[in-house]
Symmetry: D2
Subunit: 269 residues, 4 copies
Amino acid sequence: GEKLVVMAGMNVLESRDLAMRICEQLKAVCERLDLPYIFKASFDKANRSSITSYRGPGLDEGLRILADVKAELGVPVITDYHTAEQAQLVADVAEIIQVPAFLVRQTDLVVAGAEAVMKTGGWLHVKKAQFLAPWDCKNIVSKIGEVTGPDNPTILCERGASFGYNNLVVDMLSIPAMKALGVPVTIDATHAVQLPGADPRTAGGSTGGRREGVPIIAKSAVAAGADGVFLEFHPDPDKALCDGPSCLPLDGAEALLADLKAIHSIVNA
Amino acid sequence: GEKLVVMAGMNVLESRDLAMRICEQLKAVCERLDLPYIFKASFDKANRSSITSYRGPGLDEGLRILADVKAELGVPVITDYHTAEQAQLVADVAEIIQVPAFLVRQTDLVVAGAEAVMKTGGWLHVKKAQFLAPWDCKNIVSKIGEVTGPDNPTILCERGASFGYNNLVVDMLSIPAMKALGVPVTIDATHAVQLPGADPRTAGGSTGGRREGVPIIAKSAVAAGADGVFLEFHPDPDKALCDGPSCLPLDGAEALLADLKAIHSIVNA
Amino acid sequence: GEKLVVMAGMNVLESRDLAMRICEQLKAVCERLDLPYIFKASFDKANRSSITSYRGPGLDEGLRILADVKAELGVPVITDYHTAEQAQLVADVAEIIQVPAFLVRQTDLVVAGAEAVMKTGGWLHVKKAQFLAPWDCKNIVSKIGEVTGPDNPTILCERGASFGYNNLVVDMLSIPAMKALGVPVTIDATHAVQLPGADPRTAGGSTGGRREGVPIIAKSAVAAGADGVFLEFHPDPDKALCDGPSCLPLDGAEALLADLKAIHSIVNA
Amino acid sequence: GEKLVVMAGMNVLESRDLAMRICEQLKAVCERLDLPYIFKASFDKANRSSITSYRGPGLDEGLRILADVKAELGVPVITDYHTAEQAQLVADVAEIIQVPAFLVRQTDLVVAGAEAVMKTGGWLHVKKAQFLAPWDCKNIVSKIGEVTGPDNPTILCERGASFGYNNLVVDMLSIPAMKALGVPVTIDATHAVQLPGADPRTAGGSTGGRREGVPIIAKSAVAAGADGVFLEFHPDPDKALCDGPSCLPLDGAEALLADLKAIHSIVNA
């Protein structure tokens, strides 16, 4: 009987205005569809392929924008943190703080996040690493539980597993496998379609994507039992400053979310 | 606007009576749900892990049972063939003849199948091999098209890709990738959940399965755009003579197929 | 104390003259290096990607050429067979008959091969399939042993495992894992470097290769304990009618085989 | 004509005495074999599967032990760092500082390491992540080169790639692929044989290993062109406080290193 949770917004913060615009529009869509909505944006892309890629406004300016969005639009927000030191600062603004996939095995980072959200009453959104089996998330959930006690604030997120070089695959069986750990599970359909790394056959130095695959993965994962979706939009995806190739057009959000809601209703009837 | 096609039945033919019973029940379910139904059963499991495993009644007796089922219950049937010589014999009984996954690269086998269905007006159901990329099915579709001309009778079937040792993964993006080749695509959710081969940590000599994953994969794949589903049932799955661990209980068929129909309606609206 | 076995020759038979030339030269190299030599060539490429690819001279003409090579140069030969019917015909000419990788799970084919070599006193060279774990070869060795009794004539061959789409990887730990089954193990370095299938980013319809990787894989595998090597050469690799991209130049054979012999001596000291 | 470089020691620092003992013995072995030797030990295992696993003595005490080993035995040392803040502290003691595999995409960490070794004249040993293609290491080498200029102090290390769940595979072709980036390449044979994560079929919460595979991978990789080896030893591997299952017995070091030296001579002749 639970509603499908929507974590949606933009990849990296580009400007205060764009954040407001995207959040406002997605909030309205989710209100019309009666779906709980959380605004997502990153303040720092700390692991870009290339040193010259755009990384975002940084911690201070980024948290300021997120606080503004919350104040003005009244929505909860989710954003990632990258060091143990950032955990509390981020949790003081964001209801949900996110552990990046590559960092999920860093004990100090995970523990700092757990301590931070315990103080704020927030949640930890943990991206399952590309190198991790779904059942191995048990160790991460346990690390967090050691800090927080039985009310474990973990949400696990599927975002694809390494499948040979320069490719990811989403194993839909990972969703029930992670749900079996007793926590909610989301699908990050945006990052799951990325073709990671530079293709040796092209000159490219940034991470490729497959935009048309995002709705496929989102629908499949909800059909497989995902409790929430994580999606990135842009009014003009090809001009997004980061990960444009896997970014969805903002004006397609309502149709996609309506389908996802309908599938979620069927599998949770 | 197309309806979801249901290819369903049993793994290997165990007896004429059991084939009748399973077909009758599934036919009734599909009539209630208004879904096109094709009965599936194999006469020979030609690639069992172990030489002592049950292989089925063989070609002659198997085709006799399939012909009886057709005559008595008035449904089309699908079954696999394993050599070029068998192609026409099988196509003379079965509306759809199936190329086993491991054999999809055998040119003579594929060509013989194409020639056979061209005579009968039937179809070729080609299981995508565990070692094959979805876009590489193009070569198989082309081989068949060389024989049959523009009315290509190929249906491609996703049944999982090798994912490390002793595991398969279903890449849901393979479904649109195969549909892009201009042919219908089905999901064999039953075989896709198998854990192939003997696990070195157990003594086992036959192929494992994960029954609870079958509905997950089926729902996900229909959400990803599959045109049909391929499913194996048994009144008492744990007593099935082949692949019991990935076999569904017959009395659960209606609930699952109803969900699949509903998801199919949403994504094809 | 055993010597490294060399199975080497050409991919597909192109002409009687070329077969003689390649065999003569490789035989001379192996005599200088004091390594046992077996001539390899295929009479039919039964699983080419494209229906229009060159397949070879076929069974009759192919076996005639192989018999001529044996008669004239006095070397044993290895070639593959593709159906149960071909097994005895091939074993009557070739001391070693080869089960193609995709076909290793076909019980009838394997059993026919075992029966054939039992009559001739030959061997079965079984390519481990791209979808098979090394320990799962146990079932194949057992199927052959059921026919032949305790003097099991199986040689297992590593030729790469599926690693995502359009790529193979050689897991060097597979070599001791297969040797643990009590049979000799070879490395097919030529096919192990192939990039299987059509790359979606190119128009190509045949299987790619990486010639410069062949010596790397061969040396690594011998260092990992392989008892033999399987290599394909051509006087002009870029003009080879099949798999040229993974074919080695004939005049480089001696330097490579000398290195392999030296590594083999170290790891077997 | 270069000699094979040996980075060897223990997994995590257990005590000052044990570090001295292991280093002294390995130093003596490498002197006898005329191989350049660098002592390896970690002060913190920052990404253990379980929160209750032994992590080591920590930064201060760990660096003190490493400095003592250097002072007493006169060998260079290598150890890993886990945050940007640790980079300079570690580089002030260790000639080679190591970027852990999971962290190679963290730009700030890599840049801090590059700045630190530029001051000390040391090197950065970068473990290729399990999710990274070898050619994608180009971006990491470039990030470091942006800081250091043309005398790029990067050494790339192969330690296995994700191969399905709970398994790694070493692609020997990654070694020439990384060497093609213009930097030396080592093989971490110890970590490459790990079976990462908790096996769902056992109760285990720590990372498994396959000790007998370590020499296989080391020999294979040197045969494939590796310039150095990275190996962990213990006088009593089954009592090692971390990663015992993939740890080699100290008294087997000389025989293994002698083989590796001999293979290295052949492939570099």
